[in-house]
Symmetry: C2
Subunit: 103 residues, 2 copies
DNA sequence: TGATTATATAAGTAAATCCGTATATATTTA
DNA sequence: TAAATATATACGGATTTACTTATATAATCA
C-alpha cells in the first residue's frame, strides 16, 4: 500500500518531539530560525537540520526576508496532518514571550 | 510540553510502515498473529515485536483464544489516534482473502 | 505424554537517527 | 570592503531501530 507508506513517512517526521514542537509553534505563525532556536532551547544547526527534513517532506515552506528565513506550515493539502495539528496544544503564549529582534 | 512529547511517542510508533499497516488491518477486525504475519508477508518474530510495541503504548489489546492470541485496536480514548485511523485506507478486501485456519 | 502449532523472547547486526562541533554561505551594516 | 549576523551543510559519535536467526514458552492434539 503506497498510501500507507507515504503516511508512515510523514508520521515518522512528526514522531520526534523537536519537530512536533516546531509544527506546534508554526501553527501560531511563521517563525525565523533564530526564533525557533530560542523557543526550543536547542542549537541552531539542530533546528536547521530538523527544518530541512520538514521542508523536504513538504510540511513547511520557507521564505527569505532579508537576513532571516521564515518557516511556515504547508499543510493545506494534507488533511490527516491538519487533523493531527488540531490536537496539538497552542504554544501562542510561549511565542509571545520571545523578544522579537528579527526585523 | 509533556503532552507534545507523549504525542510524539505515539506518532513515532505509527511512523513505521509495518506498524501502521497493522493498525490499518486491525481497523477491520481483530486478528491473530498468524493472520498478520500472512497479510504483511513478514516473519513471525518481526510481527510479534511490532505488536509488543503497539501494546506497550496501549494502542492495541491482546486476547488469547486457545492457541491463538488476537490483537485488536484500543484507541477509543485516544482521539488524535482515531483521527489518523480515519484517514488510513481500508484493507478489508485484503483481509477477506486470507484463509481462516485460526479456529 | 510426546508432537505440533502459535506466539514470545533473546541476541546479534546493519542501517537510520539525533545531536554536537566545525565550517561554509548569504545578507546586512559600518 | 570588512565585520557581524543568520542560516545551512559536513562530518563524526552515540544511540536507537528494524530485522534476522535461534530458542523458549504456551496451548492443543494424537
Amino acid at each position: 500500500m503506497e498510501q500507507i507508506n507515504e503516511m508512515a513517512e510523514n508520521l515518522k517526521l512528526l514522531g520526534d518531539k523537536t519537530r512536533l514542537t516546531m509544527m506546534a509553534l508554526l501553527k501560531d505563525r511563521a517563525l525565523c530560525v533564530c526564533d525557533i532556536v530560542e523557543l526550543l532551547e536547542t542549537s541552531q544547526p539542530n533546528a536547521s537540520q530538523h527544518l530541512r527534513k520538514l521542508k523536504a517532506a513538504g510540511l513547511v515552506n520557507e521564505t527569505r526576508k532579508g537576513q532571516w528565513i521564515y518557516y511556515s506550515l504547508n499543510v493545506e493539502d494534507k488533511p490527516y496532518i491538519q487533523a493531527i495539528m488540531g490536537y496539538l496544544p497552542s504554544l501562542k503564549e510561549k511565542i509571545d514571550q520571545i523578544k522579537n529582534d528579527c526585523d
